[in-house]
Subunit: 447 residues, 2 copies
């Protein structure tokens, strides 16, 4: 591999010869001097070249080379990938990092078409059409470095605590959650395969298999016609499931510790850059996060003057924002666990508390948006069957799932969390589309 | 969460009261004494209970309780999950870890049906039907702990070197590699969606986006009718792609370092247990791995007396085993890079060496089985188009892909590796089905 120097390393290098590889962000082609902003994945640097516009009659080969270099730079299209060889010079007058490179030679690796189809301020749909160009922006690059750090910290938290990472299948013979929002396709032998809407069945299977504590970060699919800023037809789901819990509280405690650990890692590594490019301070949450029962949350929202239009007893998005505002004002906290959901608004497999009749489950709100549902699962097969029938489900379609419990399963619970939602809120972005590498929605299947 | 002690912790605890949670592996119900082997995710321990078979007429409540406990143990089905409270006692005569627990009380969390449908020696297909029971075997549990360590080490290697982790979409508007082996489904607005056969397009897109170095560990899908021990319709693919390389050699060097690092981590953490349960020594490979050009490899195979039946100039599985045997005998190495493949047997996007006419690509064999194809990619759009046309591909279906190169892409390359193949070979298993959490094949879509 070539002796490539990254832009972020330039400031710590002495003046002298250097080679940097990246792409052309802008060219300022002035009569007497040319400036090129060259960007790589770590930053941008200014290249400078004194222009040679014409040759004297007695010009030697050096002057000819200088003219050729000037003409090459004049013709550079934005997005051209090249390696520059030149002299690094520290100069505090240079705004961009206090260094510049005086060009000696350019090796063009790949030219770009001269007309770039989008600009940084193009509309979102246009930018999505040209996502690979959109991702060249420094802030977009940072999004995925933050995602990398966030995920790696979560996995490290789990691996250090002896969790097993699983990869559950996305091709299934029956729906994983419900019949709604399901992609299906022809499989071998005239069978129909369905795409997993969540790893729910399989992470519970791992408990029956005696795995104890597991996690998975993987794709899930929803044939969801929604066009909101929070929905996609394919997204990365962060899932965990643990055995021998006493209630959903054990799951909540794990999740709050996990998030504290992961957000701390992001702040440590990218806090300053996030502040610079997103204008937002990363706040590491204290534990325990505040908890509020759903009924109390609804009452609080009402007292704040907002009437929730839903009749099923749940919160709506504005209600969630109101709860979060109340928690922020009262506890100075960006997270809140909403607890004690009625079984009517929860899936059949959530365990119910015999005393209150409520499910042992929670939603986690971050900055007023739901990012997680967590619960203790019902592991007693007779009760599980009763609850499924009560919800109108067909037990025949659940046979494989119910088998897990017929042959013994310990008390267990877990959560599922949308990675893009977490990232969107952490960075103060307005849509998961901005923080997804390539968004997929009802009208978006390419590039 | 309860004060749960893991089985592996028992040996270091003093004699005294203890609570352990797990599932019943076997019950030995002798007339005078009962033994239960209780297993959790960390090991197995023997529970012991002096049997009380009948009550004297003047028996008090203690004797009644003893009788009840004896009857409970007699009725325990294999797979019942329970928590035992009792007295831990160190006794070197106990073969299983030198400790046993004298039962004081049992809390049964979930009973199991009395007839277990499979045994450890059941046929593979039967075991796959009841995979969650099959996974309770200590060796199967170990497989996924090894996988967790292997993956986490690979990610750590990359994250420490500033790679970005991506999650590329699995829903695509056009095939990612070829039209063969493609799952398709109805999408919104009468569109057809295809399941990604590899993240190839998207990891190259990340290079055009200026991400520099990326990796992805995620699902890919192949509508592959094969029934071999190495093929599946869905599997976890380990992918990396890096910019500014000089040739495929830069990719190979990264991959061999990565594998050395990851296998070292597995040996450090699980080496002794792998030796115990799989009878195999984990060998940490030295770098560089041996390299052999394909033509030389074929010649060597021929000299060893095996005539490769393929006429396309490639190796077949037996040829691969012969090459590996030769390398093992000559260099004492389990890995070998086979290089210099002719363009005819490589995809259109592999870069060709102008001097030799061969592709800048390799296959990596581990213990005689191919686990990877790696290559430098052609990033010059005109040549790329020529090579696609030469392969008979329709450029119209490649428009999104070709756009990545029209707007500038640095020289780059990468590899894709099947996680299950690597794991299968590392543990000396005979099929990827044994090392996949839930295998998917032409006749296997459940559980």
């Amino acid at each position: 591999m070539s002796q490539r120097v990254l832009v972020k390393q330039l400031q710590s290098l002495p003046d002298g010869p250097v080679s940097v590889s990246g792409w052309v962000e802008t060219v300022r082609d002035q009569k007497k001097v040319q400036f090129v902003i060259l960007r790589d994945e770590t930053g941008a640097v200014q290249l400078v070249n004194p222009a040679t516009r014409e040759l004297a009659e007695d010009a030697g080969p050096e002057a000819s080379a200088a003219l050729a270099l000037t003409e090459t730079i004049s013709a550079l299209a934005t997005g051209t990938f090249l390696t520059v060889h030149g002299q690094l010079k520290h100069d505090e007058r240079v705004k961009l990092g206090g260094v510049e490179i005086k060009v000696a030679a350019l090796d063009i690796a790949a030219e770009a078409l001269p007309e770039t189809p989008i600009a940084a301020d193009s509309g979102m749909d246009k930018r999505m059409d040209w996502r690979f160009l959109d991702l060249r922006q420094a802030r977009n690059n940072l999004i995925f470095r933050v995602q990398t750090t966030l995920e790696h910290a979560m996995r490290t938290y789990w691996v250090e605590r002896d969790y097993i990472e699983i990869h559950s299948p996305k091709l299934m013979s029956s729906p994983s959650e419900s019949n709604a929002e399901l992609f299906s396709m022809d499989y071998f032998e005239d069978k129909t395969a369905y795409l997993a809407q969540s790893p729910q069945h399989f992470k519970q299977m791992a408990q029956s298999a005696g795995f104890g504590k597991i996690f998975e970060i993987g794709d899930v699919f929803r044939a969801d016609p929604s066009f909101t800023s929070r929905h996609a037809t394919e997204f990365t789901s962060v899932d965990a499931e643990i055995s021998w819990i006493d209630s959903h509280e054990d799951v909540a405690r794990m999740q709050e510790e996990l998030l504290q650990f992961a957000i701390q890692a992001v702040k440590d590594k990218h806090g300053a850059e996030i502040e610079e490019l997103f204008g937002i301070e990363v706040v590491v949450p204290t534990v325990p996060f505040p908890r509020i029962p759903l009924a109390e949350a609804r009452e609080t929202v009402k007292q704040r003057g907002y009437e929730i239009p839903r009749t099923d007893g749940d919160l709506d998005p504005e209600g969630e924002r109101q709860v979060a505002a109340y928690i922020e004002e009262t506890y100075g906290h960006q997270f809140v666990f909403v607890t004690d959901y009625h079984p009517e608004i929860r899936p059949f497999y959530h365990m119910r508390d015999p005393e209150t009749g409520m499910t042992r489950s929670y939603d986690l709100l971050f900055k007023g948006v739901e990012i997680t549902t967590g619960a203790q699962r019902e592991h007693r097969v007779r009760i599980l069957e009763e609850q499924a029938v009560e919800k109108g489900l067909d037990l025949a379609g659940l046979e494989h799932y119910l088998d897990f419990f017929r042959y013994g399963t310990p008390p267990h619970g877990g959560f599922g969390m949308g990675l893009a939602r977490l990232l969107m809120l952490l960075l103060g972005e307005s849509s998961i589309r901005e923080v997804t590498f390539l968004f997929r929605g009802p009208t978006r299947l390419a590039p």
